[in-house]
Symmetry: D2
Subunit: 304 residues, 4 copies
Amino acid sequence: MDYQAILDRLQKDFIPDTAMGNVASYIPELSKVDPLKFGIYLYAHDGSSYEFGDSQEKFSIQSISKVFTLTIAKELLGKELWKRVNVEPSGTAFNSLTELEREKGIPRNPFINAGSIVVADALLTVLDNPKKDLLKFVRKLCGSEDIHFDESVARSEKKHGYRNKALVNYMKSLGNITNDTEDILDFYFYQCSLAMTCDQLSKAFMLYANEGKHFRSQEQVIDPQSVKRINAIMQTCGFYDEAGEFSYRVGLPGKSGVGGGIVAVHPQHYSVTVWSPMLNDKGNSALGMKVLEDLTTLTGLSIF
Amino acid sequence: MDYQAILDRLQKDFIPDTAMGNVASYIPELSKVDPLKFGIYLYAHDGSSYEFGDSQEKFSIQSISKVFTLTIAKELLGKELWKRVNVEPSGTAFNSLTELEREKGIPRNPFINAGSIVVADALLTVLDNPKKDLLKFVRKLCGSEDIHFDESVARSEKKHGYRNKALVNYMKSLGNITNDTEDILDFYFYQCSLAMTCDQLSKAFMLYANEGKHFRSQEQVIDPQSVKRINAIMQTCGFYDEAGEFSYRVGLPGKSGVGGGIVAVHPQHYSVTVWSPMLNDKGNSALGMKVLEDLTTLTGLSIF
Amino acid sequence: MDYQAILDRLQKDFIPDTAMGNVASYIPELSKVDPLKFGIYLYAHDGSSYEFGDSQEKFSIQSISKVFTLTIAKELLGKELWKRVNVEPSGTAFNSLTELEREKGIPRNPFINAGSIVVADALLTVLDNPKKDLLKFVRKLCGSEDIHFDESVARSEKKHGYRNKALVNYMKSLGNITNDTEDILDFYFYQCSLAMTCDQLSKAFMLYANEGKHFRSQEQVIDPQSVKRINAIMQTCGFYDEAGEFSYRVGLPGKSGVGGGIVAVHPQHYSVTVWSPMLNDKGNSALGMKVLEDLTTLTGLSIF
Amino acid sequence: MDYQAILDRLQKDFIPDTAMGNVASYIPELSKVDPLKFGIYLYAHDGSSYEFGDSQEKFSIQSISKVFTLTIAKELLGKELWKRVNVEPSGTAFNSLTELEREKGIPRNPFINAGSIVVADALLTVLDNPKKDLLKFVRKLCGSEDIHFDESVARSEKKHGYRNKALVNYMKSLGNITNDTEDILDFYFYQCSLAMTCDQLSKAFMLYANEGKHFRSQEQVIDPQSVKRINAIMQTCGFYDEAGEFSYRVGLPGKSGVGGGIVAVHPQHYSVTVWSPMLNDKGNSALGMKVLEDLTTLTGLSIF
């Protein structure tokens, strides 16, 4: 597969334009980012890599972090986790309370906010130092120590995170939260504030394209069965209320964040990260969705 | 891949037992079926096939027919179809009116009842003889003339189909239905009444495991891009409110029907049909779900 | 109480203006009415009456008819009726399916469409000739033979009544409908098509302001306990999703219809009908709501 | 009216029995109350009073306090208040988040929890010392200094009030909350912890049965128009999801609390308080509902 030619073509075809969408504005720190940033990094199964644009610049990974925390929680808790969170796609927005009420406090999946908060709560119970452990895990996955929480983003989310505060308290009232709500949100906002580059994310996500093995050392970090299952959740639930659309157009498991990043994996083939901060009305990177659609059309590769 | 050994193992491990679930009972015709029927038929990409049990006995395919009508409608209408039905997973039961109200009469996807009724309406507009054309299409796909509507099932559904009547009238009130509501339901109930064997279904569904080509003649019936997209919809929406669970456990695109059939496809590898009429509380074949989970574990194959 | 002076004042203060709202347009027959029609008729407990404007012109009473059918059904069925319909205010629009789904096919109250359809179904079971019996009852109440169904309105509703068709079929699927759905809708659309004047309606509704006695003969038509209860339902449920607002502003039990009529009663004091066909966005007469608010302010009378 | 004979009859007919319902148990302080407590106090418009049982024992008035805070807020804020809270009955439980989501953070009425929290927020903005001012107002209304907050109840609610915490944070996320969420809940839980007797409550609520005048001094505390409107809200919204049922059976404006108290008023006639801590499944005093139904039947008096 001539990935270089394909990326050259994408770079030529897609020019970011401020009319494409709006940068996330619910906290000041995210709204300051240059809307025209645009980068892509593809790491192929054979160890080669391809990139262009702002692929080496860090951005706030936000909800992409939910895949990391789910992976750790699944390893540590196994089937116990599924008593507290389901794996069904959500029919409504990522921060909806209606669905949570209908489901009696059991979030539909671990990638809506409520579900990831439950995962965070579970990690607080089993880890001595969740923030440090998460950092260590992510740094290992992408083979780089240069990964940090963005404290100003975390603090700002904490200050404005009333919706998430509502979610955690609501689930607490229904018995699905164990730890102190403030402690959980503190960890949750920190995890979302992780700043990473397209390069780092693609390498980390090779875990899911490489049967659970580290992209470089080939160490078996998690077992293949776990990878299969996390990919299945990404496929059906990775894009909020646009999961079906992404599956339909792109046909790969993936996860987006309101920082404008999208990571997608093609098992046995590659992992790829696109970053463009302008969001569509569903909260996913507008340009990122289009680029990935063309990428899978040009490669002719799709899991389907 | 030694499919024969795997099927031998499945046959040994799974013995139907009436405690597993209940046969669909909302119409007398479906409730009469022997709950202990159990068959499987796997058609491999290399043309070999494997089967055991009641794999040559016909059963009511019910909602599996929605894949056929969607395929025809997609070919004939192209993008126009997506103005009237979305491709997002549904967060509620297959015959829910609440979601339809929230979405202003646009069904979430073509595999919930409301969505398939819209597809039926679309086919009534473009086809001169929808029933005959559907039969012709399905017969061609599986290379057998011995496929028929079960008129007693169709008539019985028509007599008891108040919920579907509610759905079509509700969408009509919101402007998303063109033809006469009785005509649409007549076609819809006929399509659901198709009686087919595991053998026939697996051969027909090779279309989706073989890049759109006929299982025997290798004729290109639909283009590969269409297959990719229909598979994506099966992956995210094929099992009502258990789509995520199926994706998580089995990891293949598939479609179930309340007659107890489930078809799943692994692109480039195989298509497989299981039939066991006892349903779990989500309306999917209880035994079928378990068998397919073990099948993908034993083959070690999954799209993820 | 100088009702004449008060009506003079209202006539002076309120001049209909086409900017006030829109005439019901979902069926052609209703949309043809002159939006500037405006009439009021007040019948006092002492037998005196007061009126101005188009108070002697007939209009389509629509949902006001639901009070008549409820009254008959309550007499004939007693407590049995409340197994099939509740008396709680509805939190959503008058023709919502969501609420009906949440409540498993038991309508919230007899004044939303679903509830009145259940009442119609109940009447079909116990009456030999429901249309004739309804007409007889209403004619008796207002002491006038000159009351008829408007067949063109009834036929037009039948032709366009997809939402009501959805409601009745949905309830049938949940076991809360006994008779043939077409027969029920036929009766329901006829009841809604009743054409009456402000004069006739006020006289008929004296039943509810006069402890169940006929306005003229003082015959006890229904017992006082029944009146108290029907008034309570009018108070809490008479104005769709604006019941609280009407109660807050006007403070009387009442019932509106999309034909632009509103009837309100002040027990032991008077019954009053206003007609102005322009509707607000909740489907109630915009001018009618305002006139009645001023009327209760000017009379200083309110049940509260 | 021979109120004494009627109360004698009620005392004879109604004997509390632990099978009637369950005492509120969501906080330990409320669960400790003796379920067999039972008292009634009726204050007639002519200044006479009637009582039996535990009518002089204090209990936690809980949601009955919402009428007091609404009264103060309405006086101080006038129409501004209605931009932030509606007056429509709620179709769902008193602490539902679904409805609040549908209505974009504007509570349906001031008597569901969300609505009363908005009222509390409004009071925090305009009052220097809301707790003290509330206490002063209530003490004045019933002419007794012996009214206090129950601090152990307030603290316990604060400790377990996750649902209310969810509500206030959710509304804050939608811009309908001004003050610090902790401060608002502190005031809200204090208001609910007010401990009063049947005697005190009936005297205080004479305000609403006496055109806004003090039961003893006849001082005009609030204007009659305000009384009419608050009574209208009690009528349509005073009993959570059982408002219609109460209106249907009792036919008076009223308000209940989970402490087992119910106050009802018949304008120009009387105010009455019943206390029995066993609740039905809607959260209203089971015995209290029945007693008040019989009371209005025996008096023959109803606003309808």
